[in-house]
């Protein structure tokens, strides 16, 4: 798959060796699975002591991206990773689908556009909620979105 957009906020991107402390793969095969994905995100965020704002951000982003995966990609999987970079804990979430892909990534990320008459803010909004955001998509092959939220001190 061709990486078409990589963006991140919140300082350098994992320059030190990042350790993987745990990995959870969850299927997104029906609408109810969206709830399971965000519950997992929330429980991990709470377990690692993320504050209420960060927990809401992680849970909401998980909800948005899992829904995109289901609505636009026809389902797929979410992988939640527990990270530690030597000083901070982080949660990474990857959402993969094998749907039609996103034709115009810039357009989709700009926000306020929708192909399903929804608000069209899910993708752009999630990007603002997290520290790192990477999107890979290819026509007819699917879309993968990976986000990371690091815990503040």
């Amino acid at each position: 798959m061709r990486p078409v957009e990589v963006g991140h906020r919140g300082g350098e991107r994992a320059p030190r060796s990042t350790r993987l402390l745990g990995r959870h793969e969850l299927p997104i095969a029906c609408e109810a699975d969206i709830v399971l994905v965000r519950r997992k995100a929330r429980s991990l965020a709470q377990a690692y002591g993320f504050d209420a704002f960060a927990t809401a951000a992680i849970t909401t982003a998980a909800s948005e991206l899992a829904r995109n995966c289901w609505v636009h990609g026809g389902g797929g999987a979410a992988v939640v990773e527990e990270l530690y970079d030597g000083t901070r804990h982080g949660l990474a979430m990857e959402f993969r689908d094998t749907g039609p892909g996103i034709g115009d990534v810039e357009w989709a990320l700009a926000g306020g556009h929708s192909t399903t008459r929804s608000l069209g803010l899910g993708l752009s909004g999630s990007r603002r909620l997290v520290d790192e955001f990477a999107l890979e998509t290819a026509r007819g092959e699917g879309t993968t979105v990976r986000i990371v939220k690091w815990k503040r001190f």
Partner: protein, 323 residues
């Protein structure tokens, strides 16, 4: 009858008998071979059934499904019919119905597939013993057992499908019940309705909430609807969209919508998402929302004994003189 309910749900797949038979390689020759052995099966049927129930009654996990002699007598009778059915020489819709009914009944009484699929093992062993003791030619006995095995596996695939369908039906009924339970529209005051949203707002529920609310607004001639989202764990763009659409529809009915129960982190998350809900009046707490709603219908909450309330007038120190 459980069998006919199941039948409605899975007609296309389950009743594709040729396809199912082809997969377990169950041919007409197999059925003919078994039909020829029916006299043998009839001669030993009582012992077969008793041996089979020895397993089910001897294991604590299955014993509890047979509380008394009456039940045992009944299930033994149907087991007898089941065993003999294997030697009928035909697999038609009635046969499939019967097998589906078995799976559905097991789901209803809560007998887990691991136990009844496990019980097929004993069944096969008993039939193996029967054939090898009752058919003199070992080559014939072997062929007969192979045919029987195909038919028993054909039965197992039906039983498990019926079990799954019955389980899906139960889940669907529960979900429907939950959805209905979770849309309480409360009348706070004349012309003021409260909709406390709780839990997950999925697409089905969003539609149902909208329908319920609109009907109630018309019925009650409500002028204000308070939407309280304190019980919604994640307010994402889907929830926001639902709130905006509900507000629009509510306004078309001449009713005002007020949003309450927004926590600090929900407020911040909504702003970061870029959701614009400033079009509707919002209050952090439900109590403030109720005050605003009452103000819209020209009422207010006043401390007892203050203002022009009639109770204060009648019960005042010199109230007696006024009456």
């Amino acid at each position: 009858m459980a069998g006919s309910e199941t039948r409605d749900r899975l007609t296309a797949d389950v009743y594709d008998i040729p396809r199912r038979r082809a997969f377990v390689e169950l041919g007409d020759d197999d059925l003919a071979r078994l039909a020829a052995l029916r006299p043998l099966a009839e001669a030993h049927i009582d012992r077969l059934v008793d041996d089979f129930y020895e397993l089910l009654l001897g294991q604590p996990d299955t014993r509890r499904f047979f509380p008394d002699a009456h039940v045992i007598e009944r299930v033994k009778r149907s087991q007898r019919a089941y065993f003999l059915g294997l030697f009928d020489g035909k697999v038609d819709e009635a046969y499939v119905d019967d097998r589906l009914r078995v799976g559905a009944v097991h789901e209803r009484i809560g007998l887990a597939p691991k136990w009844y699929l496990g019980a097929y093992r004993r069944q096969l062993r008993l039939l193996l013993d029967l054939l090898f003791s009752g058919v003199p030619d070992p080559v014939e006995a072997r062929a007969a057992f192979a045919s029987l095995q195909k038919l028993v596996f054909f039965d197992m695939t039906l039983a498990i499908d019926a079990y799954i369908v019955a389980r899906d039906d139960a889940l669907e009924r529960h979900q429907t019940a939950l959805r209905e339970l979770s849309t309480p529209v409360i009348r706070v005051h004349h012309g003021v309705l409260l909709l406390p949203l709780v839990g997950t707002v999925d697409s089905l529920r969003a539609e149902q909430v909208m329908d319920t609310v609109l009907v109630r607004i018309v019925e009650e001639q409500a002028r204000v609807l308070i939407l309280d989202i304190a019980g919604v764990p994640v307010v994402d763009t889907r929830v926001a969209e639902h709130l905006l659409q509900t507000t629009q529809a509510v306004r078309l009915l001449g009713c005002e919508a007020i949003l309450t129960g927004i926590s600090a982190h929900v407020a911040r998350t909504l702003v970061q998402l870029g959701v614009e809900i400033a079009t509707m009046p919002t209050r952090a707490r439900l109590a403030e929302g109720i005050e605003l709603a009452l103000a819209i219908v020209g009422k207010r909450i006043a401390p007892a004994g203050a203002g022009a309330g009639s109770a204060a007038e009648h019960a005042g120190p010199d109230g007696a003189g006024r009456a």
